[in-house]
Amino acid sequence: SYISDPRQTIYIIEKGNAVLWGSEISPSPPVPTATGNNAHMMYVFNRNGVCLLYREWNRPLHTLNPQQDHKLMFGLLFSLKSLTAKMDPTNAEKGNLGIPQLPGQGCSFHSFRTNTYKLSFMETPSGIKFILVTNPRTGDLRETLKYIYNLYVEYVAKNPLYTPGTLIRCELFNTALDQYVRSIA
């Protein structure tokens, strides 16, 4: 079934998902250079710390139960952002450690690497945080995360059946995300 409105945009509502007809996603994705699954898992949080999405593709080790895992991840990111804002050597004006920073305020980190994984992070101006955990040899994933954010905007934010601040249950978003992540190096 479809609904057409006077602005000549057509929404197709199917299986509880609404997709804007004929929309284009920009920026265009980086050229895929590898096949196979390189990503371990992905988290999406909103500004209040609610985990909107958790996708797992390859995670042999589960240390904690899901709720604790999400809380720990959010806490880690909060502390790391606080740390980088404080440690920023180019900025003379720094607040105290632990003050909540607005999105875009102060220096923020975009990735860290350990010997077993690399975590890439992106925060949007609205406070939505995208975290992608991949193998340690992955390159800079900032463009990738921007593309995933655009997928989120198209399939989730523009979905009239989705309530902001709740768990993302959009099948089309999940499918598009899986397909895209499979193609990144």
């Binding site: 880690l76 502390s79 440690m87 450690l97 077993t116 994984y117």
Partner: protein
């Protein structure tokens, strides 16, 4: 293009869990002037925060065998960290994209062993006040800078 590095070394003995004593050795703010400076209390807080973050990042690892955060990339700086077998962590904050920081950290570790640990007057877990260590550290960072930039 210049190396802007300043050394920040929190020393924490991870074997001793009852007394968390963070020891700081701060050295040479090259090029940044006073903008990047932190007072001692803030340094201690940053060091403790960094140590906790190491531990948390190990818990969140998708595979086994995670030991440490090696590199943190931020918008205006990079942070390289090296952890010795005893859990002592050395980290250096440098300009975006600076390479060979891991080698520098290993050299600093050797200096630490030679001038601090082998110093009979140095007490474990106290702040480092060894002049020879400071001199050699400054020299190493200067040499590193010259080697990479030719000035």
């Amino acid at each position: 293009m210049s190396i802007r590095a300043y050394m920040r070394k929190p020393l924490y003995d991870s074997r001793d869990e009852n007394s968390i004593i963070t020891v700081m050795a701060r050295k040479g703010m090259l090029d940044y002037g006073s903008k990047g400076c932190m007072d001692t209390n803030d340094s201690l807080r940053v060091a403790s925060l960094w140590h906790s973050m190491h531990a948390i990042s190990q818990q969140l690892s998708p595979t086994t065998g995670c030991s440490e955060i090696e590199l943190l990339e931020a918008n205006t700086f990079d942070l390289h960290c090296f952890q010795s077998l005893t859990g002592t962590k050395f980290f250096v904050v440098c300009k975006l994209g600076t390479r060979h920081m891991e080698a520098l950290l290993k050299v600093v570790y050797k200096l630490y062993i030679d001038y601090v640990l082998k110093n009979p007057f140095y007490e474990m877990k106290m702040p480092i006040r060894c002049e020879v260590f400071d001199i050699n550290l400054t020299q190493t960072v200067q040499k590193d800078r010259v080697a990479l930039l030719g000035r």
